[in-house]
Amino acid sequence: MKPPPFAYARAAGVPEALALLRDAGEDAKILAGGQSLVPLMAYRLARPSHLVDIGRITTHRYVRGDGGGLRVGALVRHLELERATGLTGPWQALREAAGRIGHHPVRVRGTCGGSLAHADPSAELPVVAAALDASVTLQSADGTRTVPAADFFLAPFITALEPDEMLVEVAFPAPPPGLRSVFEEFQVHSGDFALASAAVAVALDGDGVATHVRVALGSVGPVPVRAREAEEALTGGRLTERAAAEAARLAASAAGAAAGSSAASGEVPGGGADFRRELVRTLVTRALDRLKEKS
């Protein structure tokens, strides 16, 4: 269980990291918290020729508001998000999800940018990115582009990132008035990857009518799955028990469809489609139950 050989360089800043990446060519990889990449190398599932260590870059370790929206630098540790007590209301799901990633020592090292770039179909943060309409900023020596989460996650462990690009930031747009979000997941043991997860965001108007709904699911497909039928069913009505039950059922069938197709190709380990469908129904019900009460 030792990683194969690679050349190593530590970057002091983003421009240096981008120059090193360009210099090293296609088989280079960024090393951030190392909590996914080092185990992959130990298993020899990844054999990068060069590692560009961005772990000491201090300029991208911020969580800041931006005209109602939120910007999170790529090098923010999971632990920092978990402890960011200001992340409430629309951002609550982000804080809750960060606190469910692996174990405490993994959260001490692992980074937000690393989790998104790694694109594990069971990871928490991509699901939150989908529920909160986030976009990621990708930078290379040639320039910068912004990609919506929906176009960033392409397949398990595959994203829109080019080999010479670094994910520098994830940005959440200003939420509609009254938006609140929560995160729920099911895992067999604490610290395990989720067998199913749900990030749900709802904005209620003064009469308790849902004006904006997002239901995003994790661990049920190759990439985060939006349960659009559930979202549509809830929009324009109150969060009654009946409406929630119907939405949970619709979300479960969206999960079943996604899990069914990817389980067949071996992309979703641990649990058949029926089991995951049941989990999703429970998780979405729980999330909506929490969202219907005024905080």
């Binding site: 269980m1 030792k2 990683p3 194969p4 050989p5 690679f6 050349a7 190593y8 360089a9 530590r10 240096e16 090193l20 210099d23 090293a24 060519g25 090393l31 190392g34 909590q35 080092v38 185990p39 190398m41 130990a42 298993y43 060069h50 590692l51 260590d53 772990g55 000491r56 632990l79 174990h103 405490h104 020592p105 993994v106 001490v108 090292r109 043991h189 604490s190 610290g191």
Partner: protein
């Protein structure tokens, strides 16, 4: 590509061992390792074999050390990544928070990383011993460092929080309950002592 070996070359070449200076338990430890070697490898290679290697892919926690005060898996940190950080290992625990040892109580002989030179077991170590929180002892250094980090970072952690954090590591012998109890006991004792 830059010329390998030139002074300006930012790359450490893959197979050339490099000299890495690490700040371990407030002493300078110099290791010569390839870039692919982990912090756990480097520590053990330098004779600090208290840090154990179990799974070597981040799931068991036997290799837990403190990096800048927080518990991390030393098998998931490259030695070269740890340059510039303060590292604490189980060897650094004894001697801190000394308590008088009673007659017949164990004091190490200073060899093989055991406490020595008058150093005594720390409060966490004593609580583990007194509470039967170890049997074979393989997992113990990792749990001690995990507990040490938790107690320093979150002295008021709830019972649930303590259990949750301790679930990061695996113990095949004790069942885990005595470990949780030992850490809770230290928490109470420190609070009573007002520290």
């Amino acid at each position: 590509m830059n010329e390998t070996g030139s002074r300006q070359d930012p790359w450490l070449p893959p197979l050339d061992p490099v000299t890495v200076e690490l700040d371990v338990n407030d002493s300078l430890v110099t290791c010569t390792v390839e870039p692919r070697r982990t912090l756990a490898d480097a520590l053990r290679g330098a004779g600090l074999t208290g840090t154990r290697l179990g799974c070597e892919h981040g799931v068991c926690g036997a290799c837990t050390v403190l990096l800048d005060g927080r518990p991390v898996r030393a098998c998931l940190v490259l030695a070269v990544q740890a340059r510039g950080s303060r590292i604490r290992t189980v060897e650094g625990l004894s001697g801190e928070r000394e308590e008088p040892t009673g007659p017949g109580e164990y004091e190490g002989n200073g060899e093989n990383g055991e406490p020595g030179g008058g150093a005594r077991l720390s409060d966490v170590q004593r609580a583990f011993r007194d509470g039967g929180a170890l049997q074979c002892g393989f997992c113990t250094p990792g749990f001690l460092m995990l507990a040490q980090g938790l107690l320093a970072d979150e002295p008021d952690a709830s019972a649930e929080r303590v259990t949750d954090v301790l679930s990061s590591n695996i113990c095949r012998c004790t069942g885990g309950v005595p470990i949780v109890s030992a850490v809770r006991a230290v928490q109470r004792a420190r609070k009573e002592a007002g520290s």
